[in-house]
């Protein structure tokens, strides 16, 4: 199965990057789930958590404030001024 390559980036460093099977984020319009093969997307994130499911089934949660989410060609980037793993 195809995976997503995800990176969570804050202003001064790369917080986390790696492969994932699913990503759930909170945009200004509501929660959105990204699976492999998602169409290109550019969304503004609302204050909240980004939940990433790894291929092994583990889950990672990151806090992202004031940022946006871009999806293109199975590459997901969560970009926020301030971000950190919870």
């Amino acid at each position: 199965m195809a995976t997503l390559s995800v990176s969570v980036v804050s202003a001064d460093r790369e917080v986390w990057s790696g492969e994932a099977t699913q990503l759930i984020a909170r945009t200004v319009e509501g929660e959105i789930g990204i699976l492999p093969g998602h169409e290109p997307l550019l969304a503004i994130l609302a204050r909240g958590e980004v939940r990433v499911t790894l291929p092994g089934g583990e889950k990672i949660t990151a806090q992202a404030d004031d940022g946006f989410l871009s999806v293109e060609n199975n590459t997901v980037q969560v970009v926020a001024r301030q971000a950190g793993l919870v």
Partner: protein, 299 residues
């Protein structure tokens, strides 16, 4: 003769003290370059991600947005100059200021007014000494820039950009800073920040490529509104980090050559001092011999 020797000794002393200071500054800068470079590298993923997103919006949508469209007539341009807070860094600040002057001349020849936003005490002093007006100045912390400062500058610039040009708003924003190329080379660079010009690293979509159809949430305008301030901040922050790394590198270089010069001075003055001491001794001997001769012949 003794007086001359004392003067040389004083000069050697003073060169030695200066050398201690310059050597210490050299070592401090050398240790800070690594850190500054690491910060530039760490902030790269962020600016790359934002640049990609901005270019995606700019390339794959045809929205008219204030920030991307070229105004018909540009009346006023803002120039942001990144200098350092402290001197003793060789041509660091002066080469940026020179570049900014050239840019201003060019802009004025195109019939535009130029307003300045300054970063660093050196730019402040340069403009203050010449009694020239500037819009705002940020000083302190140029060697260890904080993201909050970049945000502050970005907010001020955006505010000026969105104001009408009748109320003193600007239609164009340029940035002048030292780009860190390597430990030995730092190049002053001029970048037009707004309206968006060339977004670096964008692959032009080929004629045959099918453009990915981006979905925007909530909609294109809102995304652009949110994205562009962030883009400006990240570019400014990157410029500040580059400038900080360049500052350390150029200070290290300047202080190294200062220490080397002090070394050379010390060698030269030591030779002269030895010479003076030798001739003093020679003179004393000949005086003694002369005196003894005179005494013995008087008998």
């Amino acid at each position: 003769m003794g007086a001359q020797l004392r003067v040389y000794r004083q000069k050697i002393k003073s060169a030695q003290t200066t050398k201690k200071i310059t050597r210490a500054m050299e070592l401090i800068s050398a240790s800070r370059i690594q850190k500054a470079q690491a910060r530039v590298a760490a902030s790269t993923p962020y600016s790359r991600a934002i640049t990609r997103a901005v270019s995606a919006v700019a390339t794959y949508s045809n929205v008219d947005h204030v920030l991307t469209t070229e105004p018909e007539k540009i009346e006023r341009a803002a120039v942001v100059i990144f200098t350092s807070d402290r001197g003793l860094a060789g041509a660091f600040s002066s080469q940026v200021l020179r570049e900014a002057e050239e840019l201003s001349t060019l802009l004025r020849s195109q019939g535009k007014d130029v307003v300045y936003f300054l970063v660093g005490r050196k730019a402040n002093a340069y403009f203050g000494f010449r009694h020239r007006a500037f819009e705002r100045v940020w000083t302190g912390g140029t060697d260890q820039p904080q993201f909050d400062t970049a945000k502050e500058i970005g907010d001020a610039l955006l505010e000026a950009f969105l104001r009408n040009s009748d109320d003193g708003g600007v239609d164009e924003i340029h940035v002048v800073y030292n780009r860190f190329v390597s430990m030995v080379t730092q190049v002053p660079e001029v970048v037009r920040l707004l309206p968006l010009e060339v977004v670096e690293g964008v692959e032009e979509p080929g004629a045959k490529d099918v453009l990915p159809l981006y979905e925007f949430e909530p909609d294109v305008e809102t995304v652009l509104d949110a994205l562009l301030p962030v883009y400006i901040e990240s570019r400014l922050f990157n410029a500040m980090l580059q400038s900080a790394a360049s500052e350390h590198a150029s200070r290290q270089k300047a202080m190294k050559s200062a220490s080397d010069n002090a070394d050379k001075l010390i060698t030269d003055y030591t030779r002269l001092a030895n010479n003076a001491r030798q001739s003093e001794i020679t003179q004393q001997i000949s005086e003694i011999v002369g005196g003894a001769d005179a005494l013995s012949s008087a008998k």
